[in-house]
Assembly symmetry: C2
């Protein structure tokens, strides 16, 4: 008899965004002439940079010609892209990351979800609360349900949890944070690197939103912290940076110095394990997509990508200012595309109120964990005129 | 302490194609003016069909414009592609598969590798010997090392194993087979469907090479067998069909009627589990890639794709005929791009002989399992003139 992985039965059946979609549809059915504006899911709205489009076309052209056709590429990504990433995202900031330590993939959701496969089932996890649901759900699927430390990310710690007294083996960190929009300072990240070294723990650092950082004091990469290259893996994505949510390209940094251990305490380079995992279960990213991604690092591409994040940060500023002016307590939106708002009431009640009175969709904070109750996340990913109109409507009802 | 998944330590360190690459490099270093022809790895050489290139370009264009830009797509794939697949690959052959049962992905290696995540760790597997290494390696990574039935695919059973007397829960079948090139008849597949029904087992049917079938009696899909839609999942790929090895698109069929069971014997639709897995760990395939794939099903695309497989089958015919004429025992190559040759000596010795005397690279059969010893796999994926020259050289030395 084919038996299921019963850990799947422990997953909550209703995923946050499914419930949101359900409520929005119900509202639309009852109000067919609605003018709903969605500031919920963090999906981009602006076209791909012209530099990416040009490179994309030219790579497609190559696939159509005998002399330039490409079959299987390296599972780890093409050297032209890995090299561009190492130089531009790391060497330029003094972070010691080589091209070989970069694994190109089709998405950070896949990588953050798959990475836990490399570890024993009985490790202890630490995740922030509220948290991006994928970190937890993929560990539940793997049977890691009991030994989870939830680190409250709350007003009292500026939404940046300190390392706990307890020992965790695998720590998920995300800065700029989804959902709170909070950023971590160099000193705060240093504490985490120290913690990892003391406990031989591993940090999984999700930097999907780093391109929205404007404050020069805030690190973009965990590898700006000395010693992090021994205890941290970093996830990056072109989804929000360059509008790649529908194009699909991301990467993961696994430094050669990071070790993990067998039950006798013998160390193994994590690079070897991830390389084996990717070589066995993955066949690399579409060649034209990698070419499009590499164009982000050309002078033209860099300018366009900066303009994209500036545009969304402009939206974030409108959202942030409006809520502050109305009198709400607000986090994020300055170095992040997410704005986290203390609603003063139940998250879903506030969601429903905004939906019904302003026809604006946000994301209830409680969907990200217990400590998210009483908050909503508002996303800056939309057209400027829609954001402006949404905020005008919100101003009238709050 | 971050502890590794120690199952990774049970994997053989030297992957078949790594060892081949090593021997080829060594030969090249010693013989710098060699003219090596590779008939080893199954990678395509012909450009993408024009219909795919045109659709690819036009979708890239859409991503560059405000009005047509696409962000996140459905994790399961766009309806336009799922619909085209259901109609053309299944309805047209009387196989009962709906668009909703099709999950578009970036590769069959990923899907066949990831699918085992849905099952309990203590199930019994059945795989053929020789076998595509990914089926076994991904189960070893998941800790399934003891309960594995190896089904010899040998001369005596025409390289198509019958269901065993023992009970297996999860059965990997691949037809046309990699590496042997053998195909399974309707009657042989019916036996397997019966076996699965009797034992509440699940068949994972890998049909990556179905487009090479020319014999009208041979099923292209497991769903041509009545009842298979209750006990089988099917994997398909555009890699070999349409030259997508570097473009990356494939799909998996999970019929709504297929059930798997908890330890109490309660049934759960497998569709729900795979849908949850994909929604949590995957973010869909690049939009332009899906558009390129859908073009395979246009009248122009169908013609071009047929011409592609005809081309490689023409190569296969040359390989097959030559070895038969020399006096070897040969399987495959008529309805498959792989030719499986009984060498009369050790697989690696024959590999080395071909490399050193003819400068032709093949794949040693022993690399696919114990029963592959004494065989080599020759791949038809190359340019016609290279195949011709390789076979002329081989004729001179054998």
């Amino acid at each position: 008899m084919i038996k299921i992985n019963e850990n799947y039965l422990k997953l909550k059946s209703s995923y946050l965004f499914v419930e949101i979609a359900k409520r929005v549809s119900a509202y639309q059915r009852e109000n067919p002439d609605n003018r709903i504006i969605k500031l919920g899911i963090g999906d981009v709205t602006e076209p791909l940079p012209k530099a990416c489009i040009a490179a994309f076309h030219s790579a497609v052209e190559e696939l159509g010609k005998d002399e330039t056709f490409k079959g299987y590429g390296p599972e780890q990504g093409y050297p032209f892209l890995r090299q561009a990433i190492a130089e531009n995202d790391f060497a330029s900031r003094g972070a010691p990351v080589s091209a070989e330590e970069i694994f190109v993939s089709d998405g950070s959701k896949c990588d953050t979800g798959n990475f836990q496969e490399l570890f024993s089932q009985d490790i202890t996890l630490a995740v922030s609360d509220p948290v991006y649901p994928v970190y937890l759900d993929t560990n539940i699927m793997a049977g890691r349900t009991d030994k989870v430390l939830l680190l409250p990310s709350i007003r009292e710690n500026g939404f940046v949890p300190s390392p706990p007294k307890e020992t965790a083996d695998l720590v998920y960190l995300c800065f700029p944070n989804n959902p709170t929009g909070a950023t971590a300072s160099k000193a705060e990240l240093e504490e985490w690197v120290d913690y990892a070294k003391r406990n031989r723990a591993l940090l999984l650092f999700d930097a999907a939103y780093e391109s929205f950082i404007r404050d020069k004091e805030i690190p973009h990469s965990i590898y700006e912290i000395p010693g992090a290259e021994e205890v941290a893996v970093e996830f990056r994505s072109f989804s929000k940076t360059a509008g790649f949510t529908g194009t699909r390209c991301a990467y993961t940094v696994v430094p050669k110095k990071v070790m993990a251990y067998d039950s006798k305490g013998q160390g193994y380079p994590l690079w070897d394990l991830w390389n084996r995992r990717q070589s066995t279960k993955f066949n690399g990213v579409s060649y034209p997509v990698q070419k499009a991604a590499a164009a982000i690092y050309t002078p033209e591409g860099k300018g366009e990508v900066k303009a994209l994040s500036d545009y969304y940060l402009g939206n974030a500023e409108i959202i942030r200012k409006t809520f502050l002016e109305i009198g709400f307590e607000v986090t994020g939106g300055d170095n992040s595309p997410y704005i986290w708002i203390a609603t003063g009431k139940d998250s879903w009640d506030f969601f429903d109120y905004l939906l019904q009175k302003a026809e604006v969709v946000c994301t209830p904070g409680s969907g990200f964990g217990k400590s998210g109750e009483g908050y909503v996340r508002i996303s800056a990913f939309n057209k400027r005129e829609k954001v402006q109109e949404a905020l005008e409507r919100i101003r009238k009802i709050l």
